[in-house]
């Protein structure tokens, strides 16, 4: 009994103090951490690939008029899997190391929108970004996603 308690005591004493001073001292994640996915609107061609693969349905593509496609990301739903960054043909999405994302500004603070200017295809009537990005569109693009913010027929909790 005594020896076993001594052994346990040594086990405790040897490492010394290990607690980090976080959050008073920053503790940055290492390596290819998957944090906040940042979208560079200048690079985005609005192909919708990210919305198609997102397992959390955090990304919604809306065509607001003939020439404008809006990419809305509900980041409170995001599970930081990085699939959107994987499939983006333009590398418009990068997984950053940011993980301190709590907010006191309400859920709206977790919604990120960007608008991409698109041209309309003469044949099919769908949007694409000029000059000729059509060939880069690997995925069918549109997700008929009912993800609405509120609204009576929304299958989800109003966001």
């Amino acid at each position: 009994m005594i020896t076993s308690k001594l052994r346990e005591a040594i086990l405790c004493l040897r490492p010394g103090r290990v607690t980090l001073k976080y959050p008073f001292e920053p503790h940055d994640p290492e390596g290819d951490f998957r944090g906040y996915p940042e979208l560079d609107a200048d690079k985005c061609i609005g192909c919708g690939g990210c919305a198609t693969v997102c397992p959390a349905r955090a990304i919604m593509i809306q065509d607001i008029d003939q020439n404008t496609r809006r990419i809305v990301r509900f980041l409170e739903r995001c599970i930081y899997c990085g699939r959107c960054a994987d499939v983006c043909p333009e590398d418009a999405i990068t997984m950053t190391k940011r993980f301190e994302l709590s907010t006191d500004q309400g859920r709206e603070d977790m919604v990120a929108e960007c608008e991409v200017f698109m041209a309309t295809c003469q044949r099919c009537g769908q949007c694409y970004k000029p000059p000729s990005a059509l060939d880069k569109i690997m995925e069918p693009g549109f997700r008929d996603d009912k993800l609405k913010r509120g609204g009576d027929d929304s299958p989800y909790e109003p966001i």
Binding site: L11, P15, G31, C54, G82
Partner: protein, 553 residues
């Protein structure tokens, strides 16, 4: 014996009761039998051939065949075969004979299938509902295809689960739904006479997330792994891995060898951190918090290592159908070895200290007895089974990933008590360290993800299983037409092990109950397929039956 031969022997026994017989490779057998022969075939598999009952599943195939498909899964561990036993019942009379009277391990899953698909197991000894909320409408069965995945029936007042009555003269001690050492919501009604436990009843599934439904209605093949990973709050990788293996087998996709080694390494890293976590919690439950603090300190560098490899300390997000998304680069190998060596040294120190510690031993030794036969009958898996002398380990019995090329030992103890289950985990942690070292040495170069050019064909089915830290994780996938499974069935190890807890409690002192429950390393998140919820603290008080019924507390 391979799957085909096993199938032939069943066919010989039952003749034209076997409607269809097919083997997927040497290790998976698929039988379709007539409904009237279900009980006898199940009994033959379970009793005569010694097959372990795994789970049961119901699939609504009214659109395709006008019928419900009821499937019982068995495992023949010695012969390394999974048996899928289908039977079809018409929609006009959605009833099937219950196999629970002869195969007791089927108890919960038959009730679950009734709740979810609405096929009644006739002759079931405990016909109470199991998984749906108390106020869920009687006539809505969530897994039927025509029930939308986001249906929200209105809440009802004044409904409650019919609870079992305690034996004459016994008092009831409720543990849960919120209880400080159990971390997740579940409710044990422990029946006591004085200090001694004489029986127990269980109510769980408080937070059913409907993940299986999502997988077959809203997600696509490659979205499911990320949701599967979130089935468990500790060992999620096992679920995504198991799911991907099922799809890969069904579609005939071959994972490149390097991908298999990476899966193996991640699985073993996960086992180490999960066993460390468990040991800490076990110490905490017993009231020995030094162990909690020290073991979790040891665990932390491993979590950071996983973060470096995968991008996150816990949810690795590495699995996709066909392989893994990230390589384990050679630069990081030395760091992996260094972290493992550190853990090994400290683990050894701890291992040497524990057996001499009389306080610890008094709580572990001779408590929570789960006799071998009971463990077998209740379908226990993982350390719970191996601590009761059952030599089953998926890594050896049904090898997957790279385990067929690595040295894996089955750690079996026949103490049948809490100590035996503890020792199994202590040994396995050291084994895992060695497995990772070997895998790092022998890992071949090459691709980590298979190229998938063709669509996954519909109507294929396969089983995927993984030895999770808590036991066998079992996934079954029936592929569907819209780039998603038609049916995805999940059985987490705690689902099997929890059914062994009530017999474990019998005859123990009340003070042993938390560690008894804790000794199976319960993961209610997996069992309920719900979110891990932090609990507010609660206290155990003894209530009389009357107080309980009148809610005077």
């Amino acid at each position: 014996m391979n799957a085909q031969q096993l199938g032939d022997s069943v066919k010989q026994q039952f003749g034209d009761k076997v409607v269809e017989l097919s083997a997927l490779g040497p290790n998976q057998l698929c039988l379709t039998i007539t409904p009237d022969s279900l009980v006898s075939v199940a009994e033959y598999l379970n009793k005569d051939l010694g097959c372990r009952f795994v789970i049961n599943s119901g699939t609504d195939r009214r659109r395709q065949r006008g019928k419900f498909l009821i499937t019982h899964f068995f495992a023949h561990d010695e012969e390394k075969i999974y048996i899928t036993l289908h039977t079809e019942v018409g929609e006009d009379q959605p009833e099937v004979d219950s196999i629970t009277p002869s195969v007791p391990a089927a108890n919960w899953s038959e009730r679950e299938t009734r709740d979810m698909v609405g096929v009644v197991p006739v002759g079931h000894p405990d016909p109470r509902r199991l998984v749906v909320a108390d106020d869920w409408p009687e006539d809505v069965f969530p897994l039927r295809w025509d029930v939308p995945h986001d249906l929200k029936p209105p809440p009802a007042e004044g409904v409650a689960m019919p609870l079992l009555d305690p034996p004459e003269g016994a008092s009831v001690v409720p543990i849960g739904p919120y209880f400080p050492v159990l971390e997740e919501p579940e409710y044990f009604r422990v029946f006591v006479e004085g200090e001694e436990v004489v029986g127990a009843d269980y109510r769980g599934f408080y937070n059913h997330r409907g993940i299986e439904k999502l997988g077959s209605s809203a997600l696509t093949y490659n979205q499911v792994p990320f949701i599967a990973e979130r089935i468990c709050g500790i060992c999620g990788f096992v679920h995504s891995c198991s799911y991907c293996q099922a799809v890969e087998r069904a579609a005939g996709i071959e994972v490149p060898p390097r991908g298999e080694y990476i899966r193996t390494i991640m699985l073993e890293l996960e086992r180490i951190h999960s066993h460390l976590l468990w040991l800490g919690i076990a110490g905490h439950i017993i009231g020995f918090d030094t162990i909690l603090m020290q073991v979790w300190r040891m665990r932390e560098p491993l979590m950071w290592l996983c973060e470096r490899i995968s991008g996150n300390r816990k949810t690795y997000g590495m699995n996709l159908v066909g392989g893994v998304r990230r390589d384990i680069e050679p630069e990081i190998h030395d760091d992996v070895r260094r972290v493992l060596t550190d853990i090994e040294r400290q683990w050894q120190e701890l291992y040497n200290a524990i057996p001499g510690d009389t306080t610890l031993m008094a709580r572990l030794q001779g408590t929570g007895i789960l006799p071998t036969e009971v463990a077998r009958a209740r379908g226990a898996v993982g350390p719970t089974a191996r601590g009761s002398g059952l030599p089953i380990d998926v890594r050896v019995d049904h090898p997957y990933a790279a385990y067929d090329r690595l040295d894996v030992k089955k750690r079996v103890y026949d103490g049948c008590d809490n100590l035996a289950r503890t020792l199994v985990r202590l040994d396995e942690t050291l084994d895992s360290i060695n497995i990772i070292r070997q895998a790092l040495r022998e890992m071949p170069e090459g691709e980590i993800m298979a190229q998938i050019d063709e669509e996954i064909p519909a109507g294929q089915q396969a089983v995927g299983s993984v030895e999770a830290p808590r036991g066998e994780v079992f996934h079954w996938v029936l592929t569907g037409p819209e780039n998603r499974p038609e049916r995805w069935r999940v059985r987490a190890p705690t689902y099997a092990n929890l059914q062994s807890v009530p017999p474990m409690l019998q005859g123990d002192a009340l003070a042993d109950v938390p560690i008894d429950i804790g000794s199976i390393d319960p993961c209610f998140a997996c069992t309920d397929r719900m979110e891990v919820v932090d609990v507010s603290s609660g206290q155990v008080r003894v209530y009389t039956q009357d107080e309980l019924l009148n809610k005077k507390y």
